[in-house]
Symmetry: C2
């Protein structure tokens, strides 16, 4: 079951410049960058906004999925991540109704997560995460 | 000051079909459609997800901003709305640092709201809203 919006992933070209924008103009507090992505090919700064989080994501490798997104669509909102109760059961239920995932759930910073293919989700790239306790 | 993510606006082509997707596949509960937009040229269904809301937005008029977005980019995430304490003061502060708004704050379903021009916000269309008490 989907419980809440966990984070919103934003594709950015220059992480430091974007962190400075969030800090100085929006008045938010971006955390120190960490290396992320299954291939370690992303630099990410998390920005808490109330109970949700913005993930500022800069690709480190021009062949990465995120670099290709930036090239094609420019900077902007990349995906929305929903927190679920039970990622295996929830994914199984969604797949039984025709949704496709991109690979299988993998461990990440927040817990096990998986992306759903946007062709089945009305154009919205959705990630599901089951947070580690 | 930005307090939290108030909602995420999603551009959709067919509201009923999308509501059905959210209900039957994601297990969420889209509310009955309402007419929205300053020109009354949008049909909107709100979907509560924890403390945040997804706004499913279908244009009614092919000349509307939302119809042009759909034509250019297809279905997907259109904007993120942040709840602020004091929209006039917050907007003034942001403008003093170089951000541009699209028009001035106007009354909407949630309260006074205004969009920020994405050229100043790293490609993310941001809305600010001060909720009515």
């Amino acid at each position: 079951m989907i419980k809440q919006i966990s984070h919103l992933g934003l594709a950015v070209k220059n992480l430091e410049e974007t962190m400075d924008f969030y800090r100085s103009i929006l008045g938010l507090e971006p955390a120190d960058p960490i290396i992320g992505g299954n291939e370690g090919d992303l630099r990410v700064s998390l920005v808490k906004v109330g109970d949700a989080t913005l993930e500022l994501i800069q690709p480190l490798n021009e062949n990465s999925v995120m670099a290709k997104f930036l090239e094609k669509r420019g900077e902007g909102i990349h995906h929305v991540c929903f927190e679920v109760d039970d990622i295996d059961a929830d994914l199984e239920r969604m797949k039984s109704k025709g949704l496709e995932s991109i690979g299988t759930p993998k461990p990440g910073a927040e817990g096990m997560s998986v992306f759903l293919h946007p062709k089945g989700t009305k154009g919205v790239l959705m990630e599901l995460v089951q947070k580690s306790e």
